[in-house]
Symmetry: C2
Subunit: 196 residues, 2 copies
C-alpha cells in the first residue's frame, strides 16, 4: 500500500483538523512534512492569503466553517486572537525532532495555537510546548534555529512547488496531489486503491 | 426538518457534481436556485475567477480533482473545451421552468456542458436541450430572455450577497451557509440536525 505525504502549515486551522484526524488514522503510513505556504502564495499575482485578501464574507465563513468542523471532531477550538499566526517557527522546530515523535509535537503546537490561543510564533511559547511534551527544549531550539535547518525548510518549500502544491494542507500519494482537509478521506482512499 | 437552498452556477463543475448528488437525495427538501457568481467575484479586489487569476498549478489541480470526483460518482466527464463557460443563459432559462421540473432541466444543461462538451452559452444549444427534455423551447426562451426575468436574476444575486454567499455551489439551511460541493454532506446533516 502506498504511503501518504502530509504537508502542513501551522498557520492553517484546516491543516490542524487534518492533523487531528491523521493522528488516529491507522492503516496508511503517513510522512508528516511541516512547511510554510506563505512563500508560495506570495509568488502569485493575487496573493490569496486569508489575512490579506479574502473579503469579509469569506473570512466570516471560514471561521464558522472551522467552528462547525472542530465541533464535529470533538475539538475544543478557541479561535486565535491573532489570525493567521506565523507558522514558520513551528515548522522549523517540528522538522528537527525525531520522525517518530513529529506527529505528537505537531499536535501539541497546533493545540497551543487553536485550543489554548497561545502565540506559537514566539520562542517562549514553543519552548514551553516542547518542555511539556518532554523534549530537551534548548537542544531542539538550537537545532531548529540553525542555518542548515532554515535552508532545509526552504528546500522543502521548493519541493512542494515541484509537486504542484499551492495550498495547505496538501496530501501527496505517488505524485497524486490532494488539497485541503476536505480531501483527506479521498487521499487515504487513493492510497488504498486509486480509482482512475 | 429544515429545507435546504442549493445555489448553483452553470459555469461550475463542482456545482454540477453537487447537482448530480442532490438529484438522488431523498430525505431533505431542496430549493434549486440558479444564479451567477461572476458579479459577486467581480466585486472583489482579487477576482478569484478560475479563468482569470488562478495560477497554473491550481488550474491543473482543479481539473484533476474534478476528474477524480466525477469518476467516483460514475459520471462521464468530458472537460469543457472552453472553460469556464458562461452560465448566464442557463440560469435565466432554468429559473423560468416550473419548480418541479427545474432539477431535471438543470441536470440536462450541466450534462450538455460537462458530458457532451456543448457550448451552453449559445441559444441554439439551450434550445436543443429544452426540446430534448420535452419543453416548449420557444416559450421558455421567450420567458427567459424577458426583461423581468433578467431583473429577477439580478435580485437573486443580491439575495445571495445578503446571505453571505461568495462562491458556488453554496447551500443555505436556516441562514447557515455551506460553501462547496465538499460541504454538501455537512449541509444535509445540518438540515437533519444542527450540531452547534
Amino acid at each position: 500500500m502506498a504511503t501518504m505525504q502530509f504537508w502542513y502549515d501551522f498557520a492553517s486551522p484546516y491543516a490542524w483538523l487534518a492533523a487531528e484526524r491523521l493522528a488516529v488514522n491507522t492503516d496508511i503510513a503517513v510522512e508528516w512534512i511541516p512547511f510554510v505556504i506563505g512563500p508560495i502564495l506570495r509568488l502569485r499575482p493575487d496573493n490569496p492569503s486569508p489575512l490579506q485578501n479574502a473579503p469579509p464574507a469569506q473570512r466570516n465563513y471560514r471561521r464558522r466553517d472551522v467552528e462547525r468542523l472542530a465541533a464535529k471532531q470533538g475539538l475544543g477550538l478557541r479561535w486565535p486572537s491573532t489570525y493567521p499566526r506565523n507558522g514558520l517557527l513551528g515548522a522549523r522546530v517540528s522538522r528537527v525532532v525525531p520522525v517518530g515523535r513529529r506527529a505528537d509535537l505537531t499536535l501539541a503546537i497546533y493545540r497551543a495555537s487553536f485550543v489554548e490561543d497561545r502565540e506559537i510564533a514566539e520562542l517562549d511559547v514553543i519552548k514551553d510546548v516542547l518542555e511539556r511534551a518532554g523534549f530537551d527544549a534548548q537542544a531542539i531550539l538550537t537545532a531548529a534555529l540553525a542555518d542548515g535547518n532554515r535552508k532545509a525548510l526552504v528546500a522543502d518549500v521548493d519541493r512542494a512547488i515541484a509537486l504542484g502544491i499551492f495550498g495547505a494542507p496538501s496530501f501527496v500519494v505517488d505524485g497524486e496531489l490532494f488539497w485541503g482537509n476536505d480531501r483527506l478521506d479521498l487521499a487515504l482512499e487513493w492510497a488504498r486503491r486509486p480509482w482512475l
